[in-house]
C-alpha cells in the first residue's frame, strides 16, 4: 500500500463495499480501494463474494409464481370504472 492508504485497513474496506458497488464513493476513495484490492487477496475475495451474493439475491425475483390472475383485476377495474368500486361481498 502507498502511504496515502495507510488508514485503509481491511476492517474499513469491508464497510465501503456497498457504496463502492453502487458507485457512491469519491474518485479518491474509489482509487484507494482499487489499489488496496490489488494487494489484498482477502478483501478482493470479500468484494467478489459480495458481488456474487447480490447477483444471487436478484435471482429471488424469479422464484415466485404469478399472483392474482389479471382477469380478477380487470374485473376490479371495470367495476371501479362503472362507479362500483367495492368488490362483491362473498
Amino acid at each position: 500500500m502507498t502511504g496515502d492508504d495507510l488508514d485503509l485497513m481491511c476492517v474499513r474496506v469491508v464497510e465501503l463495499v456497498t457504496d463502492y458497488m453502487l458507485d457512491l464513493l469519491s474518485a479518491e476513495e474509489q482509487a484507494a480501494i482499487e489499489r488496496h484490492l490489488i494487494v489484498c487477496p482477502g478483501c478482493d475475495a470479500f468484494f467478489s463474494q459480495m458481488r456474487v451474493s447480490v447477483r444471487w439475491s436478484a435471482a429471488l425475483r424469479g422464484q415466485a409464481e404469478a399472483g392474482t390472475p389479471p382477469e380478477s383485476l380487470v374485473e376490479l377495474y371495470r367495476k371501479w370504472k362503472a362507479g362500483k368500486p367495492e368488490p362483491e361481498p362473498k
Partner: protein
C-alpha cells in the same frame, strides 16, 4: 429534498390514462407490477391474506390514480400503497411490518459487516488486517439447478432473519431492483439511512452464504 424536483412524465401520463378510464393502460400497469406486489405482500403478511392485500392495494391505487403527481416512479408509488395496506392489515393480523421507520433508526448502528474476530486486533502491528480472510466462492452455472435451489433457500432463510428495516430495503433494492431514491420514497427514509440498511442487509446475506459454502466445502 429541495432544488429541482424530478417529474416522472411517462408514469404521470400512465396514471392519468388509467384515471380517465383507459383499460389497456391499467392492464399494462398490472402486467408490469403485479408479480412484484404479490411477492412483497407475501413477505410483509401471512400468505393467507397477502393476495387480498394486493387486490386492495390495486383498488386504493385506482381510486387515487388521478391524484398521482409523478413525483416518484409509479412502481415506487405502488409499493408505497401496498406497504400502507399491509401495515393496516398487519395491525390486525400480526406485526411484521414496522409501523414507523423510526423503529429502525438504530438498526445497523455499530453493526460491523463481519465479526471483529475476523480481523487482527488494533493493538497489533498488523491491526485491522485480516486474521481469517474470506475465500472466493465457486461460480455456479445457471444450469446447476440443485445448487441454485439451495442457494435460493439459504438467501430466503437469511432474508427472513433480517431486522424489518434491513429486510425492506434489501427486498426493494436487491430483489425488486428499485433505485435508492425509489426505496427511500417507499419507506419514507433518508438516503444515508437507506444505504446503511442495505449495507447491513447485504453483509448478513453474504455471511449466511459464507456459512453455507464453508459447510459445503467440508463435505
Amino acid at each position: 429534498v429541495g432544488g429541482e424536483e424530478r417529474i416522472w412524465h411517462d408514469d404521470l401520463a400512465l396514471a392519468q390514462a388509467i384515471a380517465a378510464g383507459d383499460e389497456a393502460s391499467f392492464v399494462a400497469l398490472v402486467s408490469a407490477h403485479q408479480n412484484m406486489l404479490s411477492r412483497l405482500a407475501r413477505r410483509w403478511l401471512v400468505e393467507s391474506i397477502a393476495e387480498e392485500a394486493v387486490q386492495e392495494a390495486w383498488l386504493v391505487a385506482l381510486r387515487s390514480a388521478g391524484r398521482f403527481e409523478g413525483r416518484s416512479s409509479i412502481r415506487s408509488w405502488l409499493c408505497g400503497v401496498l406497504l400502507n395496506v399491509c401495515r393496516a392489515r398487519d395491525r390486525i393480523e400480526r406485526r411484521t411490518v414496522p409501523a414507523s421507520s423510526l423503529v429502525d433508526e438504530a438498526e445497523g448502528d455499530a453493526e460491523p459487516a463481519l465479526h471483529p474476530h475476523r480481523f487482527i486486533r488494533s493493538s497489533h502491528h498488523w491491526g485491522g488486517h485480516w486474521r481469517i480472510p474470506p475465500v472466493a466462492w465457486p461460480e455456479p452455472s445457471p444450469e446447476d439447478a440443485l445448487l441454485n435451489k439451495e442457494l435460493a433457500e439459504r438467501i430466503e432463510a437469511a432474508v427472513a432473519q433480517l431486522p424489518p428495516g434491513q429486510r425492506d430495503v434489501f427486498l426493494l433494492r436487491d430483489v425488486e431492483g428499485l433505485s435508492g431514491e425509489e426505496a427511500c420514497n417507499v419507506l419514507g427514509i433518508r438516503d444515508t439511512h437507506q444505504r446503511v440498511l442495505l449495507h447491513r442487509a447485504r453483509s448478513r446475506i453474504r455471511a449466511a452464504l459464507e456459512v453455507y459454502f464453508d459447510q459445503a466445502g467440508g463435505r
